[in-house]
C-alpha cells in the first residue's frame, strides 16, 4: 500500500509539473520568437515560474521516498 501511495504522489506531482512547465515554456518561447529584444525579461520570468513550479514535484518525490522507507 505504501508503494501505491508513493507512486500516486510522484505521478500526480510529475503530471502537474509537466503541464505547468509545458504551458510556461511554450508561451515564453512563443513570446521570445515574436519579440527577441524582450528575451531578458521573458527568460527571467520563465526561470522564476519554472523554479516555483518544480519545487512541488521535487517535494512530492522526496515525501514519497520517505513514505516508502519509513
Amino acid at each position: 500500500m505504501e508503494y501505491l501511495a508513493a507512486a500516486i504522489a510522484v505521478g500526480l506531482g510529475a503530471l502537474g509539473a509537466g503541464l505547468g512547465n509545458g504551458m510556461i515554456v511554450s508561451r515564453t518561447v512563443e513570446s521570445i520568437a515574436r519579440q527577441p529584444e524582450a528575451r531578458g525579461q521573458l527568460q527571467t520570468t520563465m526561470f522564476i515560474g519554472v523554479g516555483i513550479v518544480e519545487v512541488i514535484p521535487l517535494a512530492a518525490t522526496v515525501i514519497a521516498f520517505l513514505i516508502m522507507f519509513s
Binding site: 515564453t28 527571467t44 523554479g51 516555483i52 521535487l58
Partner: protein, 125 residues
C-alpha cells in the same frame, strides 16, 4: 548584465551566507550538528539544482532566438535524482538530519521569490 544573471548571483550569495551561518552553527552547537549538517548538504544540492536550472533556461531562450528545432529538456530528471540522492544519504547517515536536508534542498529556489521582488522593485524606481 541581465536580470537572470543578477538574480542567480544574488541567490547564490545569499545561499553562501546561509551556508556559512550553518557551518558556524555546526561548530558552535554540537547538540544540533545533525540539523546543521542536513541543512548544509541540502543547500549544496539545492544550489546546484538552482544553477543547473538557470543554465537550462538560458539554453531554451537561446534556442528560441536562434530558431533551432533540436530537442532540449529542463533537466528535471537530473534534479529529481539529486534530490532523491540527498534524501537517501540523509536516511543512511545518522549524522545528517533528513528534515533539514529536505528543507535545505528547496531554500535556494524559494529565495528566488523575494530576490526577484526586490530586483523588480529596484528596477521600477
Amino acid at each position: 548584465m541581465n536580470d537572470l544573471t543578477s538574480i542567480v548571483g544574488a541567490v547564490t550569495r545569499i545561499s553562501y551566507l546561509i551556508m556559512a551561518a550553518l557551518f558556524l552553527g555546526w561548530a558552535v552547537y554540537p547538540e544540533f550538528r545533525p540539523e546543521f549538517a542536513g541543512g548544509i548538504l541540502g543547500m549544496t544540492a539545492g544550489l546546484f539544482n538552482f544553477r543547473f536550472l538557470s543554465l537550462k533556461v538560458r539554453q531554451v531562450a537561446q534556442m528560441a532566438v536562434d530558431n533551432h528545432d533540436k530537442r532540449l529538456s529542463f533537466g528535471f530528471i537530473t534534479r529529481l535524482c539529486i534530490g532523491v540522492l540527498i534524501a537517501a544519504v540523509a536516511i543512511k547517515l545518522e549524522q545528517v538530519s533528513l528534515g533539514a536536508a529536505v528543507a535545505g534542498l528547496f531554500i535556494p529556489q524559494m529565495l528566488t521569490i523575494p530576490v526577484s521582488i526586490v530586483f523588480s522593485l529596484r528596477n521600477n524606481q
